[in-house]
Symmetry: C2
Subunit: 215 residues, 2 copies
Amino acid sequence: MRPATHSSADTNRRKPSKGEVTRRNILKAAEASFAELGYDAARLETIAEEVGIKQAAIFYYFPSKRRLFDELERDIHDSLVSVTETRLADVDDPWERLMILVETWLDFMVARPTAARIILRNCATPAGEDQPAEAYSADALQLLRGIIADGIAAGRFADVNAMYLVNLLSGSILHYVCNPEQLGSERPYRPEDPTEIAVFKTVLRKTARAVLDVR
Amino acid sequence: MRPATHSSADTNRRKPSKGEVTRRNILKAAEASFAELGYDAARLETIAEEVGIKQAAIFYYFPSKRRLFDELERDIHDSLVSVTETRLADVDDPWERLMILVETWLDFMVARPTAARIILRNCATPAGEDQPAEAYSADALQLLRGIIADGIAAGRFADVNAMYLVNLLSGSILHYVCNPEQLGSERPYRPEDPTEIAVFKTVLRKTARAVLDVR
């Protein structure tokens, strides 16, 4: 019964405020910097320059470099969970759910290689008190763990520690995206090449089947 | 015909000089620091303190932080190649060679998790002009590539891009060692637990077989 306010809220949702646009631009520039240089070498000065604001203005949106990085991590994992849940919405079969999750994660990382680099770098960093390993990835990993637990409970999957699947599947997805030149110039590939993606999806499918098959 | 010199060289091989001991100690302390903090955050001052020398003394052995890191990388990969070649020495069958290589790499990384963290962090870093992705890992990767090429040539392996195996096998080995708590406290594991290692080796074997099987 407050049509004016309602309509204004709708308008806000369609056209984000200037502040929200700046906040998104800071996150975007920060993602590129953190991915390329790592947390310690990335500089707020460069990020501010990229956005076209003064360095001090960053602190209006993010009180510290650490908080900026945390918000970015949250943003990456929220997006990943959101797109995965959407694609899983009407699927019940555990195998099909697992395959959809794996393919969604691959598609996501191929489309956002900066996110893949940031996550891979986190994997290399020992978990500390201020940086629990599971903090922002918890929801995404819970999705995978839930599917595996359901499959085991239904007698469809062998009873393996979900960790092995995480190491195999998400580990190799991150490496696929970040390391196309790891073997030198002899057999390089473009991670975003649809043919390569299709072949690699087959490899991931075979891998999951080999590990989880009950036979 | 220079028995004195010869004997002195033999003695040197048995008992390394003080300089060589210091050099090894610097590499060891550097490996711990680079693994825990990453290249940029690691400090030569801390490494020198750990060894019990002045920071300036490091430069007598390594002219720069970058060179110290490079030498460390070379040392890690040389050790990995050396132990792998030893274990492969009398084995001809491509499957057996592949399995021995994979298990050797897992054992190596479990015994030297600092090396695993350093390599994983490198994987996350985009290859630049001063830091070619293949520099020090080339020989190790060439071993794996050679085994796969031999297996394909002999009709024993399906003709897949060796990159997929690198991403799957070495990627998941690095994650196995670096991320035991990735799924939180529900199903953690100790990477050095012999039972876990045995199960994970089975998983790796199944994975390789699923991807390379010619059927």
